[in-house]
Symmetry: C2
Subunit: 246 residues, 2 copies
Amino acid sequence: MLSKSEIKLITSLKQKKYRLQHQLFVAEGKKTILELLNSKLKLYQLYTTTLEFDASDALQTKITPKELDRISFLKTPNIALGVFKIPKPQPIDFSKLIVALDDVRDPGNLGTIIRLCDWFGVKDLVCNLETVDCYNPKVIQATMGSITRVNVSYVDLIELLSTKNKIEKFGAFMDGVNVYNMKLPNSGILVLGNEANGICKEVESQITQRISIPGFGDMQATESLNVANATAIFLSEFKRRATTET
Amino acid sequence: MLSKSEIKLITSLKQKKYRLQHQLFVAEGKKTILELLNSKLKLYQLYTTTLEFDASDALQTKITPKELDRISFLKTPNIALGVFKIPKPQPIDFSKLIVALDDVRDPGNLGTIIRLCDWFGVKDLVCNLETVDCYNPKVIQATMGSITRVNVSYVDLIELLSTKNKIEKFGAFMDGVNVYNMKLPNSGILVLGNEANGICKEVESQITQRISIPGFGDMQATESLNVANATAIFLSEFKRRATTET
């Protein structure tokens, strides 16, 4: 049975300001909830229609499908909704390859990029403060559980880049150097920009190496790759060298 | 001014059966409409609030923002909605690299894959009959105009693969050969499967070369790459060799 205050709390978590205030976020979908329960993340409360999850009784509430429908952020609710505590960001390891995002606004893109970082073993994802919140329910949905394995930090990106003098900062630009022909290190910061406008001027001034994925189609016509696909290809390029070039 | 029959026709085009019946599809968004107008596609009728497009008077109807709101498939309608004729598929060029999809269901994924084919100069995309329709409005939206430069054919994929004996058929599998270490030709068919289940058994039996993108994270945990990201990386691998390996 759901109380009015519970419904109010859960539905408020759609908004960033309430997620920040309560330090809680919502995850839905069986696979995602299972991954989160199996991680170091702390469960606040699980609302489930089936009681099939491995969580302590005190943290589990049996609800009806109708009640789930009322609190769910999905059009077609699953079997459960989990409320989890937002973890404290961990220190960033600058000795490894890091991905940095400048103003990525689409939740699906951020979720996919977190999943890509997980696949390619990138432990740290750094976002400027205008990038969409990684605890946005649509981002959590798109990460498919990868949020538990990638350390996402929100920072003043310009300041961070300007203080890291010894680290190579790669920026994705349409007119950068062909990434296929470059020597790529095992460390550095790979910066990707906004869906429509790319990397902003202030961040651009901190970039030490402009890189690009060459197109093979009619380049007058095709505008650009989607930011998540560009991230996929850049991470593939960085990581394959680590195994094939010695 | 919109007639009732026009509204009925346009809104019916949300459904595949009416698109097939009328051989028409809807495109929205200024950029997409401009690209379609500049292509070999034939305009059926353009409904616009601004009359700023380069189309003949007979094919252009000025409407109010309220009328656009009524016919638009978008939550936040743009300035125009175009109804275009579905083009006849062109013959497939099997001497080049072709992408084939087995049961890709998500419109965003198909749209992104069409955009990737365009970027990487893949002229032919072949889809099995259960793959989402490329004239679905969400697909058109996601292609960002690339639909005008990629020839999408819907076929009995199993039959097509079984008749192409001399062509190498690459299939994306979790346990395939590491694509980074392979020699890749300039031609062949690259097959990608369904979002949840991958390539089906019948298509799998036609594959001559299983390929895979190796992961670098905790592989017990990370399940797989999204099909569009996998396509991005595979196409990048096929195409970069054409320029760097001679």
